[in-house]
């Protein structure tokens, strides 16, 4: 049985070299990613350690295979060596990977310790996953924003508390160096110390239904003073920390303010902001919805029709086949009973008077009557 070498030898060598070089690209990709936190620095370090250990194994195996495939390719009349094993060799390649794994495990364990031992936070932010937007609450500062940027101060220890109001989500900011699942009924925590002002991308990484891919937000890191004015603009309070910027945070028993029992000042219901927080992830800021998936509000029969029908949909949700502006839809909208009468009235008024809609205003009393 004569078989020719299926490819010229030089081409084979070139292909191998190219493959080896391409295989190293993940290391460069990691180096190209910005690290926003000291955790990300350490995870990068660990990544690089694992990468180069595995790369050496990879190149070793490939080099051995390339040698074998060329050196021992078919030649008529050549005798294949008949051996069944080699105990020494087998011990070596059991022990060496074990040592490599120990080499990986020790820095891994150190990194885990670093990540898990959160320093005393300067600021606590609660992150809540919703289908399909993020809500950010600053409980000590009386700020609560939805479907907006996550604004964080630089050079402060920020504790992130992550949970979900519906399905499993995952809070993933690549530049932070970690991700956390948001699981309904559970709370998860992590901490960041953002080294510099800048912008980062937050993704939901766990499949959470139709608009999983749209469940994103920007993380805006700003200087402490700017953060304070942002909090104020949202009706909250924040005192810029006296602590000077640290290279890396240390756990310390810093002075802790006495628990404030100030209830959040009642805010005037702002229809546009509430729409943006609760509705725009599906119906879009433009009110145009998404073709085939989420019906439009702009020019739609519902916000231009009787207010009662519109209120019922928001209070009780809606599912099943639906025709809007001649288009067929077959989805489900969740109910919004958690919104107050005033909030629902403000949202509906906004929807019924924007984008050319002429449905007219809705009063809290109308909503109350239909609850």
């Amino acid at each position: 049985m004569h078989t020719r070498w299926p490819m010229p030898r030089n081409l084979f060598a070139a292909a191998l070299a190219l493959a080896g070089a391409l295989t190293a690209t993940p290391a460069f990709a990691v180096a190209g990613m910005p690290n926003a936190t000291p955790i990300a620095d350490r995870v990068d370090g660990l990544y690089n350690l694992i990468f180069w250990i595995t790369f050496v194994i990879f190149v070793g195996v490939w080099a051995a295979m390339a040698y074998v495939l060329i050196r021992y390719r078919y030649r008529p009349g050549r005798e294949a060596k008949q051996f069944h094993g080699h105990t020494g060799l087998e011990i070596i390649w059991t022990v060496l990977p074990t040592l490599a794994l120990i080499a990986i495990s020790i820095p891994t364990y150190k990194t885990i310790r670093y990540v898990d031992n959160a320093p005393k936070p300067d600021l606590t932010v609660q992150v809540v996953g919703h289908q399909w937007f993020w809500e950010f609450k600053y409980p000590d500062n009386h700020v609560d924003v939805s479907n907006a940027d996550l604004v964080l101060p630089a050079n402060r220890v920020v504790k992130l508390l992550v949970s979900s109001a519906d399905v499993v989500h995952n809070f993933g900011v690549t530049d932070f160096g970690f991700s956390m699942d948001a699981i309904p009924g559970h709370i998860n925590e992590g901490w960041v110390y953002l080294k510099a002002p800048g912008e980062h991308q937050l993704f939901c990484r766990q499949l959470c239904g139709t608009l999983h891919a749209k469940m994103m937000a920007k993380v805006k890191v700003v200087p402490d003073a700017e953060f304070a004015s942002w909090v104020q603009s949202k009706g909250g309070t924040y005192t810029p920390g006296e602590k000077s910027a640290q290279a890396a945070p240390q756990a310390n028993a810093a002075e802790q303010a006495a628990p404030k029992q100030v209830a959040a000042a009642p805010k005037k219901a702002d229809g546009a902001a509430l729409y943006s927080a609760n509705c725009a992830s599906c119906h879009q800021a433009t009110g145009e919805g998404m073709a085939g998936t989420f019906p439009p509000l702009a020019g739609s029969e519902i916000p231009n029709g009787p207010a009662a029908e519109h209120i019922k949909i928001v209070l009780h949700g809606k599912s099943g086949p639906l025709t809007v502006k001649g288009q067929q839809y077959n989805g489900a909208m969740p109910p919004f009973p958690q919104l107050s009468d005033e909030e629902i009235a403000a949202i509906l008024t906004y929807e019924r008077t924007s984008w050319g809609n002429k449905g007219g205003a809705v009063t809290p009393e109308q909503v109350k009557a239909l609850r």
Partner: protein, 189 residues
């Protein structure tokens, strides 16, 4: 009967015996799979991480107030389809270990029908859960709110001094789940 047939007969018998044993393995694994459910709940209770905690354990008594101070933070969440609000009246307190502390939560029914809900319990860091001993809690059973009713319910607890010294803040979250959540109403037309 040829020797080959005799061997086949013997194998046939052996096969049935082996299959019987494997059937037992299968039955065992089925019981094992369903048994994992109570086992999981048991492990969670043991480590105090169950979603609905058990009543306080009377054998757990504070050995007196220590000097170590721990921050306890309170978080309230509402699950989708639940027409209620939960607000911890205090966001966080600094407590000395062993010291009994009481905090209040306000629950508000936003709907105009009677609402039955269960607060679901969760603590981070998870290993702190078993160290946070509750004496009184609204989380032990389902709660009922009349239409539009708002009421304040207390939670009292003390922190065990065996809490891992590395932990400086413990966060306690309750998520409200209506037992009959509002579902999207099927469109009729």
């Amino acid at each position: 009967m040829t020797p080959d047939d005799a061997r086949q007969q013997e194998i046939l018998k052996k096969n049935q015996r082996t299959l019987m044993w494997l059937g037992l393995v299968l039955v065992f694994m089925t019981f094992f799979a369903w048994g994992l459910v109570p086992f999981y709940r048991m492990v969670c209770q043991k480590f105090g991480v169950g979603t609905i905690p058990q009543k306080p354990d009377p054998t757990q008594v504070s050995k007196g107030v220590g000097s170590r101070v721990v921050t306890v933070r309170f978080v309230g969440m509402t699950n989708v389809g639940t027409a209620a609000r939960i607000e911890p009246l205090v966001q966080k307190v600094d407590v000395k270990v062993g010291q009994t502390t009481e905090v209040d939560y306000r629950f508000t029914n936003l709907s105009d029908h009677v609402l039955v809900f269960q607060p679901v319990h969760s603590v981070v860091p998870a290993r702190a859960d078993a160290m946070l001993h509750k004496l009184q809690c609204f989380c032990y059973q389902q709660q009922t709110l009349k239409p539009k009713e708002s009421k304040v319910l207390p939670l009292s607890f003390w922190m065990d001094d065996k809490l891992d010294p590395e932990i400086n803040t413990v966060t306690l979250q309750y998520t409200l789940y209506a037992l009959h959540p509002e579902r999207p109403v099927a469109h009729k037309s």
